[in-house]
Symmetry: D2
């Protein structure tokens, strides 16, 4: 699915977004997520392979994948709007398969911005192969202070 | 909402569940969650107040609340079934309000067990007051090994 | 779960709500839903037993139950706010069991109103017994014209 | 997003699927849906423009769009598996925009089959333009009788 606006520069760069996370979002460091790319309404983030992220069976725990998806949506929305005040209003995730070792990539795409934004995320193994989870989510965009 | 079976002993105790998390679910220690109680198809878990769990605005980050809800459902399902192999199939969360300082309690209730289980979670401030999020979730229960 | 405000009169009566459906919501007559009661942030609606609502296996079709839940939330929100312009922003449903003959009751409860409202619905057989589906949903409340 | 298997014939044709709906799914005739195409894990269905499907404001009612999405997923799953016994386990929908007159197309794609299937749907105006809703859903696949 294509982002809402193509051929438009993102309103935040990867390095600016990393700085935003470091300054304002302490929880993000628990996930050790790497931001691969940010577009205008799209983003790709990587959850690296960490034994600390596992659950029974040696698979990546669901909450780590939810955190990855949530941050990917945040990056895509800030990329489209420049508004760091965006907050998740709702998020739904379906888990499809166990993630093999080697990290998980999240591909987020925003389909609507405005007072309420909406988008989806596909989570795929970093080594390739079938998707491990899919997500849709709505976000509330308060006025910037 | 009442759990699926009342007046029935849970199939795991709080101390046994804590041991299960310590032995098999490394990710749980990232959240520092405390298990308050487990019933037969119900559970109450506490996400303690930690600055490491915050996001922009000094509020508890969404992924921390999703992790809290997911673990509360897991405790309630293992309390009803005794099966630690249960895995999340889907989870939907609505965020209602910012959580004030002082920790967040998750009240999980299972409405159906079987090959596919389903339940809900209400997240409320530990100091009382209006709920901060509500969750419904389905779980897949593989045969125990 | 208790509605957001108790001991407060609803902002619409059952007969006024039925008139609103008849005048402005043509689709509602397809479902033949009966409004049992409306409170300030709560509502109970009945989907009567109709062979036209069935799917393979003689069970009530999922979309009929989604429509019932959506209208129950609408009644509860208009009961709390008086604003008929409310529209669904997101809805998540888990199906728990097949519904036996005899109609399905939806119990809707609103946990938050404001620019964005949120609530849940439990769907139970009219003849009693275990719930057949559970729902959470967010709603957008535009300014009244 | 591509269906799970490409270049494979669907296990049901459009005319066979229409016959299945006519014989076994009475509720489908309430929606008057037209099946445009079915692939192996994908389907396109049309909700035609009907005043009977409208809600306040002259827009297509949410439950009609949920019914359209649910049937599109059913067509895509039967197209991939040939199993008409598939039932919805969970469905989440985000509403993005009001649908303009002229009908709504649902594009369903299945990302996983097995005991539990999962897929997504994008709902777009038949006349083109931005999507009006997005859906993810899980399905339970009982053994065929």
């Amino acid at each position: 699915m294509e982002p809402i606006v193509q051929n438009t520069l993102p309103k935040i760069s990867v390095s600016e977004f990393n700085q935003l996370l470091a300054d304002q979002h302490p929880f993000a460091s628990l996930l050790e997520i790497e931001v691969v790319s940010i577009g205008h309404g799209s983003a790709v983030l990587l959850l690296p392979n960490r034994s600390a992220h596992q659950r029974l069976g040696g698979i990546i725990a669901g909450p780590m994948l939810m955190g990855l998806a949530d941050l990917a949506l945040y990056a895509a929305i800030v990329g489209a709007t420049g508004n760091p005040e965006a907050v998740t209003a709702s998020l739904s995730i379906n888990f499809l398969r166990k993630a093999p070792p080697g990290g998980v990539l999240a591909h987020a795409t925003i389909l609507k911005t405005g007072r309420l934004a909406s988008g989806d995320v596909l989570l795929v193994p970093a080594v390739g192969g079938n998707p491990v989870a899919q997500v849709i989510s709505t976000w509330s965009l308060p006025r910037e202070k």
